[in-house]
Structures are given as C-alpha cells and as structure tokens.
Symmetry: D2
C-alpha cells in the first residue's frame, strides 16, 4: 500500500464489538477505512458493507484476507474462532488487531505464538485496551519515573452493575479478571506465578448459582502481591480502580470524579454504567495507535506473548476457583522473539 | 476562686443556644460547671436549674452575677439584651463569653467597647466559633506559614437547607454573612473597607419576599477581594466552604468528604443538615478554650473590637443590599487597647 | 465535493495554534485533510505544505480559498486579520472554523455578522472550544435535565501558571475572560447585561504593571450573577473550574482528580500546566465535530452572534477594568437569523 | 461514690500512652480526675502525681486500687502486666478501661474472661479506640441501616510512616493488624475463622530483617473476605482506610480530605503523621464515653470477649506469617455472659 492511503481494514466478526470497531474506523479514526467485513451471517455482513463505500462483505475470513484492498485485519469474532483467523492472517502476512482473549486457552495461544515466531516478525496486537486508557497510562508513566520506588502491592476493583444471563462463575476469571492479569503484568513488568481465588458468600443480588463476588490474589515473580475484587452484580455501576503501593508512596486511579454535584442532601457524582462509557476513549486511542503503527510498518502494544500469559493465568485461576486452592502458573520459557 | 475548682458559670438566656451551652458545660467541657441560669421565663430557668447540682435559677442577670458561686458569664440571650448584660458583667468584673452578635448594631457595640476600655482590661470573648473549627484552624495555620504568599482573594460559600419563617432579606447579611465578616478579618488579618451586595433573581425555593441568594463582595484594607455566596434555601443541606487564593497557591476547606459511598449509580457522601452538626466540635472547642483561658486568668479569642467591626460591616452590608450600591465601611480608630 | 471524500481544509495562519490544527487535521481527525496552508511568511507556509501530500502553500488567503481542492477554511491567524479572511470566505461561500476571538472588537464583529446575514445562511463556527470539553458538556447536559432547577449563580476560576511577557491588564479580559463570557452565555442561555472588574492588590508574582489577579462580576438578563477569578500568574498550573448554583443544587467541574498519589507526607495529584494539556481532547472534539457537520452540509457550534456578544462583553469589561465602575453591555438586537 | 462527684481514676502505667491518658482525664474529659498514678518507676509516678491536686503516687497497682478515692482503673502498662492488674481490679470490683491488647495471648485472655464471668458482671472495656473514631462510627451506622445490603468484603489499609527500631515481623500482626481484627469483628458483626498472611518482597525502606509490608486475608463466619494491607514503613505518613463492599453498594472512609491546596504544580493535602494526630478525637471520645458510662454504673464498649477474640486471631495470624499457610482460628464457645 501507499503509506499515504488509508489503511484498508478487514473486520472479522460484526457482533456488538465488531460493529463498534467498524463505526470507529469509519467515523473516528484517522487514516483507515473498512474495506471488508466478514461474518458467518452473510446478511449481516452485507447490510453493514452496503453502508460503506468500497467495502465488500465476506463470510470466509480467508477470502477477505486475500483481497487486494485489505491491508490489515481486526479480529472481533468469538474467541474460539480466533486461532484459525490468526493463522490465516499469518499466511497473508497481514498485521492484526485481535480482540481479547487472544484464544480461549493457553494451549491454543501457544500454537499461535509458535506460528508467529515461525513467521519471523511480530504481526499481532492483542486488544487489551486498558493500556490505552488515560488514567492507566498516567499510572504506568508515574511508575516509570521511579519516584515511588519499587511496586510492592497492587489493589484492583473491577465492578459491573449486573452480569449477563449466560455468565458463569469461571467467566468472572476468564472474561473479567483477564483484564487485571494484563494490567498486572504491564504495570508492574512482572509475570504472575500463582493464583488464589477466595469466595465470599455470594451476593443476594447475584443469580443463584453464580459465585459473585470473587476475591483473587496473584503472586508475581517480582515479589508483588496483587489483589482483585471482582464483583459483577454490584448494582451501582461499572467501576474499575487500581492502587499501586510502592516503597515510597502509592498511586490510585479510577475514582472518576470529574463533576461533583450537591443535591438532595448528598454531594458526589455519577458512576459509569458500562465499559463502553468508561473506556470509550481507550478504544479510540487503541485503534488509532494500531492504525498509525501499522501504517509506519510497526507492531506495538500487547503481543501474542501477553495474550498467552493472560490465558495461562486465567486457566490457573479457574482451577483455583474450582478447587479452592492456590495454583501455580506454569509458563513456557519466553521466546527471545518477544523480549 | 481556687484555680483548681471548676469555673462557676452563669448562663444568661436558656433558649436553644443557651440550653445547648448548659449541656456542653455540664457534660462535655472539663473544668467548669453551671452555677446559675438566667431567663426572663422563670419557670424555664427553674426547670433547667433543678437538674443540675448546685445551680440556682434567676430572672435577673444582675442578681446572678452578684452571686458568690458565679465566676464567669456566658451570654446567650437575644442580641438586643446583650449590651445591658455585658455592662453588668463589667460592673462585677466578670469574664464573659458573649454569643454573636456582640450587639445588634455598631453604635451599641461601640458603647460596650468604650466600657471595656474604661474597665482597663479585656473581659469579653465574642462567640465567633468558626475560629475554633478544625478546618478553619488548619487554613489559618497554613496562611501563617507564609508558604502560599500573601492572600489576594477569598471565596466563601454559606448555604443553609432552608431558612426559618421569620428570616428577612437583611438577616442574610446581619445574621449569616456576619460569620464571613469575622472569617475574613481573622483569616486575612485585614479590615473590611467596602461592601457590595449583588442580587440574583430569587430562587423559586425561597419564600416570596426573601432576596435569596445574595452575592456579597468585600474589599479589604490589605487589598484583598472577598466574595460570599449566601444562600439560605439551597435545599440540599448546610455547607460552609472557603478558598483562599494567595500569590503562590490556594487552599480550600469545607468539602467534608469523610465517607464516600458508591450506591445506586452515584458515588459521594452526605451533607450536614445544619450548623449544629457541622460545627459541633467547634462549639465544644470554643467553650473549652474559654474555660481554660479564664481559669488561667486570661482572655483570648475574638474581642469586642472584632464584635464591633462585624457589626459595622453588617450595617454597611444591609445598606448595600437595600440601596443596590457599593457602601464604604466607616470604623472608629482602633483603640491601642485592642492591638 | 463528493461527501465521501475527505474535506479539503485551508488553514489560514500557521503560528502555534494553526500548526497544531494542521497536525490535528492530518493525524487525529477523521474525514479531512489539509489541502492548503496560508501564511504571510511564505517560507513557513512552504515548509509546512511540503510535509503534506497534496497540500499547497499560499501567502494570500483569497488565493487559497479560490483553489478547487479547498472545501472549507480554518482561520488561525491573529485576530485583526480575521475580518478580512471571513469576508473572503463568504465570497466563496466556504464553511469556516474561526479561532477565537471572532474579531478584536464588537464593531468589526458586527460587520461580519451583517455579512453572514446577507449571505443568507450560516457559514461560521467560532472556536470557543470549551463547549467541546467533556466536563463542560456534562455540566451543560445536567443543567438541561432541569434536575437542579434554574441557575442562579455561576462561579468560575481561570488560572494560568504564568503570563507571557506581552500580556497587558486588559488582555486578562479580552483574551482570557473571553472564554468565561462564552461559557456563561452557553451554559446559562442568558445574555450578559453588565460587567464589573474588581482589582485585588496585584500579586508579587505578577509583572510590575500587570493588574493580576482580577475578579470579574457579570449580571445576566436571566437574573444570574456570575463571578470569574482571573489569575494569570498563580504559579501552580493551569486550572479552569466552574460551579453552577441552582435552585435545588449545585454542580462543579474542573477538579481534575484522575490520579491520586500518597507521597512525601501529602495526598493529591498533579495540575495541568497549560491549556494544551487541559483542553487537548476539547480541541480534537471541536475539530471533528466541525468536519463531520461540514461534510453533512450543516453549521453547528458557536455562531457569529456568539462571537459578537463575547466581543461586546469584553469591550465593556475592559472599560470596567480601566474606569473601576460597573459598565452595562449594549448589544444590537439579535437577528432572527441567529435564533 | 456520689454520682455527681468526679470519677477518681487510678492510671496504671505512665509511659507515653498512660501519661497521655492522665492529661486527657485532667484537661479534656468531663467528670473524672486522676486520683492515683501507678508506675514501677517510683520517681516517675511521684513526678506526675505532684502536678495534680489530690493525686497519690504508687508503685503497686493493688495498693492504688485499695485506696478510698479510687473509683475506676485505667490500665496502660505493658501488655504482659495486664492480666495481674485486671485480676486485682476484679478483686476490688472496680470498672476498668484496659488499653489494647487485653493480654498478649489467647490463653491469658481466656483466664481474664473466666475471672470476669465468675465475678458475675462486666467490668472491663478494652481500648479498641477505632470504635470511637467519627469516620468508623459513620461507617458502622451506615451498615446498620441496611441500605447497602449484607457486607461481602472489607478492604483495609493500615500504613505507618516508619516503624520503631524494636518492631518485629510478628508485631505487624499482633500490634498493628490487631486493630483490624477488632474493626472486622465490630463492623461486620462476624467472627474471624481463618487467616492467611501473604508476603510481598520487603520494601527497601524497611529494616533488613522486617517482613514489611504484609498482606493479610481473613475469612469470617458470616462468609465475608477481609483483606488488610499492613505497611509500617510506607514513608509518607499514617493512613488508615477501610472500604466495605456490600450487596448493593460500598462505603469508604479514611481519605481525610479536609483541606485541599493547589501549590507548586500539585493539588492535594497533608497526611497525618501518626496515630496520635489521626485518632486524637477517638481517644478523647473513648475516654469520655467510658467515664460517662462508669458514672451511670454501666459497662459499654469492647468487652473481654472482644479482647480474647483479637488475641486468638493474632496468634493464628503470627503462625500464618511464620509458616506461610492458611491457619484456622479456634475460639472457645462464646459465654452467654458476653452475648
């Protein structure tokens, strides 16, 4: 492609997330356009494509990736479909932004990793969008200055107003705490070595057989202790907070106190109601960063290694939840390729 | 009196404020007891005295002040009765804690001042209790360090949930902004030289003929500009805030964010509902400080000069409100006695 | 233009602000490109144009506006040059985003207004970017719900760390408070009817002959009282805050408490150091909104009437500052065209 | 004693804590006086007694408790001396305020409990003063309303600027987390059933062989999970925070944001430097409450059972720290006497 032309992106999967990325590429992001949409539901793909000039609908990701006007791929299909789509993208040597999870388990993530290593250069950015949230970025940047000394502990709160009906106890780990696995690894620069899941008596507001909330404790190879309060039926809103405790100080994000009102005997403000509201800017920045890097011929952001490590930690976490014990995380040796 | 004995206090006036001071002396403050209560309502005085060992009821302040077991006087009667009570206390050379206002107008305050000067030593502490509030004390102390440089502006908010039925437009100045006149003079160490009162369109929540809110602007002899939002029917609670703007920084008190909740889509906390709740500790500290100083034979705290200056500013303020113009404040020369 | 093609924008004036808008159009905003840059400094224009594909350098705005690939104009030249550039844009019937001030005085703003009315349709959006700041937008939206009742007062703080060397006392009004004139009019939906400027003793941190800070009071035709603390050498950072006081509650923005640290005996966070940091997102959103509306053939945002009203209030404000009196604001009757 | 006379208190132990209580009784608290001070250091006891009218110095607690003018006992001697002093007080049937810990281990606490049960009525209030802190009281009161639903989790932070030289790793549990054991039991109304202590890599700011910080996790019989960050060399101050997570909301105390400054590029405030500053009011209120209840012939506040339970949990905690495992807490059956 001519580096001055907009990046032609094939969006694979046009569910809620994929459709939102289509909108983002067309209306928000600079320097890209949707040149292909792929969905097993042919009607759905056609309907979306028809509203976009120069956009073709496909049902087969491989066909889309073979098209001349496709320069890059955004994978937003369900997790189990990711591995195949990634391997196809590798065949075409196309840059990929792959929504989290990279794949649903560590074994498949490992196969993707081996394939990318064989390809010989990084092609994949994994969609851990919290790395692009302004507050997390400030926190990371403050830690980087060394002013606070070495991090010793990280306290996380991850609260949803209510869980969708299909949510299971293990999905609190694999879908939700998954974000904190990446936050922990990225903020601290440590690998997670062990996981425990403590189980408070479930909230009366949670569905009958859901273990909600859960209190998760990570240990890291840098000697930090990390806790995550994971509560998907807290009732009052969507709230993500993090406090890093270092040798000489602490830093906290997520209070979200932009506007303060006095009203009816109370001071305070509103709480975001979902991740779309809370992380809208992070998604925009993630995609813009990916487009800019891709047009420069670079790959930045969370790597396949990060996706693999998250999958391995979540697997250990689900076992810790089910067996009620501390579970050690076993990672393969990190390929030099990802250092 | 033997300095180790508790201070015998005559409480003059046993309305809401006086009765609360009786309770405070008996149950909270160390080193004092109520030895006399005075009220024109003889039954009321007797009822209160009967619950306190060694306490006598009076209807005449002069009789109480002549009693052997009265070492000091707390005046909590209505403002118009203050002058006579103060002059009587001077005759008996008794230390006085006089609730604000010292007297209802500058002329009578001036007469009290002249009498105290004639007496030759300070006897009166005026009840501007904000000087004893922990937050105002912190603010004063920070200004005293000089870290922020010279004060240039002072922004005040003074909000009540709802005004009592007898409240008039001029009472917003003479009863309520009266506190900010003292706060301004004490925090900044300046005298107030001019007053303006701006009149927003009255709130629909205010009684029909009440000019509420009012926005008051003071100029001071130290070159500071001070504004006061005075709003007695704000609906949501009792809230007193102050921000001093200095050459190198600002400091703000009054947010009152002790406990933060997340609930029903909102984060935040409760707002005090009246001054009793907001300033309970300040009243306790004021009275304890007065008792301690009195037992040491000292007079500290706001002086008759402070009471006079407040009265003069409020008089000017009421004229500024009524005439809609800037009014200069005329003070007599400050007696050396009060320097 | 084909509505699917990117909007070709001529950027007139390539100083600090103009150059930043060039970057924004090229790298951030979706759906636009810089097709022309205009600067009296031909070398400067050429240097910028040479880095952008399909961009031509001009020294004469009229020449740029006549070019076939120019669909819209962004005026970022010094204020005195705006009138001529706007009138030229009207000749070519081009949509314009004009940086504030619309023009340096009310008389010239009026001429622009008359020209646009003659043109028969709105062409100009004035660059009051605070309307695009997320916090101000939240505040506006809350007021719109009516939950708080009618607005009675608006308290503003506008602080800069330090003023540039060329800054004069009247520029605190015409350059800085100019923003609050628009904020007042937009948030409250009132016109400003009178201005006073109170002058605290200048800060020792301010240059010798600069009246800094200033305390400005507006009255509005809706009966609100508005105060603005304007302090351009506050030393500690760039801080913009606003609190609206309504009949049933208040709302405040601008605390900016995203990240809280505990460090060295203090809790708290950092303060933005300039408007670029504080309002970066607002500029992005302003430009994206303009591009989107323009491509749809619409004109939204602050109008020439808003630019004129701001100019008239600032003129009155400068007189109020110089003469030390309350000055009434005289506006021409609002043309139906701008209702 | 005549209920109108001040309570004559014997203060046993006149170290830092005991001397402060002497001052509090003499200068702050209403209705009590120090009639005896006891210290093994006879000179020290005499020096303190000589400054107080009607106060006798003793070296033997039993002699003091036998004195006619001693109505109640405040035990502030080192923990190992508490058991003997308590048993002696029981012989004289005197009301006791006993500083925490009740005794240094569960076995001795149990003996005290059995003795009080034999005595047949409650005599002891244990000095868990956080129950008298205004913020904790608000939190307890909010939980009591049931608005937030049942408590599921409790997050605690307990930070000291620096630890004294004699501090050992197990004292982080037995001296410091001891407070959170009581807070947990009192706030939630649950008993603690198991303890884990996780050990982050020690801070470089901590002394060489001190395991600091520690991350403690409690399980309770009400199904709650409680975590405590215990960090005694955090460097920046003394900070105690608690957040209760309930079924329908959360509540947090301890931010301590009374005064907010803008200064040198930062907004924020100061952090208390020790527990004396942070909990001064709680100590005053604790003592006043004890004096008032004692004069009414009542015993309120934390009981010997509470002291015993705290000792048992801390013992389990120390084992959990040393062995690196989860330790279950074994309590004797709660005597009906303490229900």
């Amino acid at each position: 492609m001519n580096p001055r032309d907009p990046l032609g992106v094939a969006v694979v999967g046009t569910g809620k997330m994929g459709a939102d990325h289509v909108r983002r590429i067309q209306d928000v992001v600079n320097g890209a356009r949707v040149s292909a949409v792929v969905d097993v539901d042919a009607e759905r793909a056609k309907r979306i494509a028809s509203g976009i000039e120069g956009c073709t609908a496909y049902t087969d990701p491989a066909a889309a990736m073979a098209a001349a006007d496709v320069d890059a791929v955004l994978i937003a299909s369900p997790g189990p479909a990711h591995e195949a789509a990634l391997l196809t993208a590798f065949e075409h040597d196309l840059p990929v932004l792959c929504e989290k999870p990279l794949t649903p388990d560590a074994a498949s993530a490992l196969r993707v990793m081996e394939a990318e290593v064989r390809l010989g250069h990084r092609r994949v950015q994994v969609g851990f969008m919290r790395r692009y949230d302004a507050e997390y970025m400030k926190l990371k940047s403050l830690l980087g200055t060394g002013q606070l000394g070495r991090p010793l502990m990280l306290h996380n709160r991850h609260r949803n107003a209510a869980s969708p009906p299909f949510f299971t106890s293990s999905m609190l780990i694999s879908d939700s705490v998954a974000h904190e696995t990446d936050v922990t690894r990225w903020l601290l620069g440590h690998e997670i070595t062990a996981v425990q899941v403590l189980r408070p008596r479930p909230s009366a507001s949670a569905p009958d057989d859901l273990q909600d909330p859960q209190f998760v404790v990570f240990e890291t190879d840098g000697g930090a202790i990390v806790d995550v309060e994971m509560f998907v039926n807290c009732g009052f809103g969507y709230q993500v907070q993090a406090e890093v405790v270092c040798e000489r100080g602490t830093a906290r994000i997520g209070d979200g106190h932009a506007m303060v009102t006095n009203m009816a005997g109370r001071w305070g403000g509103t709480i975001a109601q979902d991740f779309v509201e809370r992380f809208a800017d992070a998604y925009d920045r993630e995609l813009q960063t990916w487009v800019d890097a891709t047009r420069r011929g670079e790959v930045t952001g969370p790597s396949v290694w990060d996706g693999y490590a998250a999958a391995a930690v979540c697997e250990a976490g689900v076992r810790a939840l089910e067996d009620g014990v501390r579970v050690e995380v076993e990672l393969v040796e990190r390929p030099e390729f990802y250092l």
